[in-house]
């Protein structure tokens, strides 16, 4: 018992899982952006158990928003929270890479 309540060292500290805040930057309604959004939804449903928020940002409508996260290519997924910010470029079809990129441990 006491071992469980003991403060874990450094990064392994277990706390209530934080909400993952994601921004998906796209360039209009294209097959790639649609596929990115579908893949992302699927991954979040499977692995994040409701602890996520997704915001889709269409840079064709407002290119200035690219500045917030220094976006280079579209689509790009940005994990804003938890810190640090992480980016995944592409249509998110490689689930394993997305999980690693987002820092999510896959649930078995």
């Amino acid at each position: 018992m006491s071992a469980q309540t003991k403060k874990l060292p450094g990064k392994q500290r277990s706390s209530a899982p934080a909400t993952v805040v994601l921004s998906l930057y796209i360039a209009g309604d294209t097959p790639k952006s649609r596929s990115a959004l579908n893949n992302l939804n699927k991954i979040c449903v499977e692995h994040l158990n409701g602890r996520y928020r997704i915001k889709v940002i269409d840079l064709l409508k407002n290119p200035k928003l690219a500045r917030d996260h220094q976006i280079l290519a579209l689509p790009t997924l940005v994990r804003q929270l938890p810190q640090p910010i992480r980016k995944i470029i592409g249509d998110l079809s490689n689930t394993e890479r997305v999980l690693v990129g987002l820092g999510i441990e896959s649930t078995k």
Partner: protein, 301 residues
């Protein structure tokens, strides 16, 4: 009672990213996915573009952001390819210019070592002829006939420059006969050369190398007659362990090799010709010690 607790602390709120950062410590658990080599954003972008997963690129500058569809990006790449082609073209032109410059240098050499030497030899022969004209008119007539023949050869050589054909050893003749001719002309000047040419050494040379060797020998023989006041000399062409060795020596008055100014254009050309065929040329001389020029050419055909 009201003592403030210093220990126990707050629940961990200080590091929001900590829980979500799985494998950053050195000790990753066995179940964690294999650690990937960190990639830069540029690398990740390139990989995604290559995988055909990217719709567009965002180009940002101080004032604005522009979204370029990848189609435009393809056009950029095409432009770059066109620029690279232009670069290739420019390099090719440069190489052609270089080849032209080398060709010109070769022409100068051939002029100097070939035509000028031949004309010089004719002049020497005619000079000798003057001395014997009365005493031995028959011999003098022979020398004049030889001179006429030599001059017509020179004309042929000059024509070959004009038509752009490379100087070569005349058909039906070989290096030995050419060297013997040169030596004979020197003989008319009262200088005796022995010629020792090894058949296998001649065979080992390509026609271009043979021509270079001939011109070097001509230059050396001409130096011996013109500058060295030599009485006798030796020309040899031998092979030793695959190395073809041309040696021209004389017993003339020699010179200080280290005095670079003493190395006239002729010695410079000998060096240049030797280098051109991948050979080395060595000039050994000292005042009153004669001169020895050795050209060594390794790994022949």
């Amino acid at each position: 009672m009201s003592t403030p607790r210093k220990k126990g602390a707050k629940p961990s709120r200080s590091r929001p990213g900590a829980a979500a950062r799985p494998a950053r410590t050195g000790r990753s658990g066995p179940r964690r996915p294999a650690r990937r080599k960190p990639v830069t954003e540029a690398e990740a972008t390139l990989a995604a573009i290559r995988a055909g997963q990217v719709d567009a690129l965002v180009i940002q500058n101080a004032e604005s952001e522009r979204i370029y569809a990848l189609k435009t990006f393809d056009e950029l790449e095409q432009t770059q390819a066109a620029l690279e082609n232009a670069g290739v073209e420019r390099r090719r032109t440069r190489a052609q210019l270089q080849a032209l410059a080398e060709e010109r240098e070769r022409l100068f050499q051939d002029m100097h070592d070939g035509c000028i030497q031949s004309i010089y030899a004719v002049g020497l022969n005619l000079e000798a002829c003057m001395g014997i004209m009365q005493a031995n008119p028959k011999k003098a007539a022979e020398i004049v006939a030889d001179a006429t023949a030599s001059l017509s050869l020179v004309i042929q050589e000059l024509r070959s420059f004009i038509t752009g054909h490379r100087l070569q050893i005349a058909k039906g003749e070989d290096l030995r006969s050419q060297i013997e001719k040169t030596v004979q002309a020197a003989g008319n000047q009262g200088m005796s050369f022995t010629v020792d040419i090894d058949e296998s050494a001649m065979r080992a040379l390509t026609s271009e190398q043979a021509l270079h060797m001939l011109q070097i020998a001509r230059e050396a023989i001409s130096n011996a007659t013109r500058h060295a006041n030599a009485r006798s000399g030796r020309v040899s062409l031998q092979t030793r362990r695959g190395v073809v060795c041309l040696e021209v020596s004389d017993d003339g008055r020699g010179f200080m090799v280290k005095k670079v100014n003493a190395r006239g254009l002729g010695l410079h050309h000998i060096d240049a010709r030797a280098r051109k065929m991948g050979a080395t040329a060595q000039v050994t001389s000292a005042p009153n010690q004669g001169t020895r020029i050795v050209v060594k050419l390794g790994r022949t055909r």
